[in-house]
Symmetry: C2
Subunit: 365 residues, 2 copies
């Protein structure tokens, strides 16, 4: 495989120059603030992109699942934050093994979770740093108030094997426009930083980390004086969702799925060989599943598992495709798309430079 | 691993007795009509389920992608129908290799597709049987009329390496209730059978196959006198979608995702460790992502990649879960869910009987 034309479809393609530009821009914006950048690997799940992030100053990596942490430690990374509660004995046992090879922190947001972790970690004599998650408006995990954060910190620091190292906030940062993104960044930074200060004030002096931010909000959150770390993930690739939020332009989108027109059964209808199994299922309520890089007005208006269906609305110019033609689809959600593939191909224009295994794909445990 | 409790989460679980019952029921219903059953493997993608289908009389297997055909031939199956147009030279070359080990048919719905296939297959001296797809109301692939089908049959049978073996229709069979399902079955059967008769009448005597039907419609389509073969897939597992259509009950659902409650941050909110990466992204516009097997009124009301979020509506009784508790989620779409996992665990009650690799997972090429 030397050229894009040698690849069969559907196949995920990473534009190297866009990738490097995206990584560089975020590194510069966050770096200028002095805040640590600990990118979330969920977007790419590869050693090769993570190495580029490290080369541009990332202090370590963020992951969601322990299995992703294991993949990245196997790939040579030794400072991992699992931004997720670990509450099963099986996972805490695997965490112990991983601690021989890397510094690993994880999230706690409940007394039950803290007690489960102490049960496994306490008897070993090791002490693991944990980050307490606090609700910042996203309605997902996280303690509900600074009072609850303080109470959980008291419990954690009373248990063997655990020490509170800081606070985590997460979003809701997928909002449209810089003003809204700045406001969410301010909110999550304020809530997390205030809770961390309270905890430190109560004597938990190791609670020094304040980690917040996703792709749209990280550049702004990094400017907040109380924040020590941001965790953007998607920015390496961007996607239709980020473009819709104004966090990127279509020209920033580095991950596409190369697809073939397999049928043109009727006027103004094309069928591509990339459906939900190649693009991922997220439609964000749009009812569409990606757009063509070469024809940005042309949307995948319907997707089955293996079919990407384009029914052209009246106002869209017919791109005049033929059966056998190839197009590149910008997915709705690059992170979900990465997870559908065992490898991605890194390209420079029409040249295929490298094949990157998606080492953390499917690591849901 | 001997018991369900030994498995870490999230993890896909197949209830063996439900699976066997589902396979048996469809085999009996279709078998009673004398119509061939050629189940679509997309739902399960495993050797073990396909072997159970073969043992109950399936004449062969249906797949969507050539890569799935390769996986199933490697697993010991020798009669495969790729219900999908093959138009790239790379795939047609792989098809040639596969023909040494199995009978493989595929779909054609365009002159360009037929010509591309003849270019590769013609010079080899082999003749491959192809099925012409005709539109039956689904708005996806397929020629648009009987006249187009006849013209394509004329072309195909004039080309070296190809012979028309019949007609394919597909849906739209995902409709609610037996009456609607019977009507769709009647329509697709009538259209496909009529086109096949016309083609045979024009001298294309090998066009003997009329293949139609999905899970809701196959039992009815099989009764139609012109139909020779039905291709249900989902019925081995069923899911929330099939239950919503009345094609199954919740007690028929054989595939679930075992998940752990990782957070209970606020009253009437639970967070599970199974999100879109464990359940797949399809929400069918419902805004929900599955329901709890043990508490069928409790829906996953929101899903992130790694979080299944339950926000209980006022009218739903609180199941009273605690952090660390385990639940089983019936996914919206079992086929999509299967594709997210490298293996499934077959269980009998609380006993884990076997581990089945999902051999055709991710075979989008």
């Amino acid at each position: 495989v030397n050229l894009l034309g040698d690849l069969d479809t559907p196949v995920p393609i990473v534009d190297l120059s866009r990738l490097e530009r995206n990584i560089g821009r975020m590194a510069e914006r966050v770096g200028a603030t002095g805040t640590d950048l600990r990118p979330h690997v969920k977007a790419h799940k590869t050693r090769e992109v993570a190495e580029r992030q490290r080369a541009r100053g990332a202090v370590g990596l963020t992951v969601a699942k322990l299995g992703e942490a294991e993949a990245m430690v196997d790939a040579g990374f030794d400072d991992i934050f699992i931004a997720y509660p670990l509450v099963t004995a099986a996972k805490l046992g695997r965490l112990l093994t991983l601690l021989d090879r890397a510094q690993v922190r994880f999230t706690v947001d409940s007394a039950e979770g803290a007690l489960a972790a102490a049960d496994v970690l306490g008897p070993t004599g090791r002490t693991v740093e944990v980050i307490i998650e606090i609700e910042t408006g996203n309605g997902r995990t996280g303690v509900q108030s600074e009072e609850e954060a303080l109470a959980l910190a008291e419990l954690v620091d009373s248990l063997p094997g655990l020490r509170v190292a800081g606070m985590l906030g997460f979003g809701p940062g997928y909002v449209e426009g810089e003003a809204a993104q700045r406001e969410i960044a301010r909110q999550e930074a304020t809530i997390a930083a205030s809770a961390a200060a309270s905890i430190r004030g109560a004597g938990h002096v190791a609670a020094r980390i304040v980690t917040v931010g996703c792709t749209p909000t990280s550049p702004y959150a990094a400017e907040h004086p109380g924040v020590t770390e941001v965790r953007p993930g998607n920015y390496v690739y961007y996607d239709c969702k980020q473009v819709s939020l104004g966090a990127a332009t279509l020209d920033d989108c580095a991950l596409t799925v190369l697809a073939t027109v397999i049928s043109h059964p009727a006027p103004r209808r094309y069928i591509l060989d990339a459906g939900m199994k190649a693009l991922a299922g997220e439609d964000y309520g749009w009812g569409t599943h990606g757009r063509l890089l070469e024809h940005p007005d042309v949307l995948i208006t319907r997707a089955a598992e293996e079919h990407g269906i384009i029914n052209l609305p009246d106002e869209v110019v017919d791109p005049g495709l033929k059966v056998g033609d190839r197009v590149r689809i910008v997915p709705n959600h690059a992170c979900g798309c990465s997870n559908m593939h065992d490898r991605v191909f890194a390209v420079d224009g029409e040249r295929v430079i490298e094949t990157w295994p998606v080492i953390a794909r499917g690591r849901v445990q």
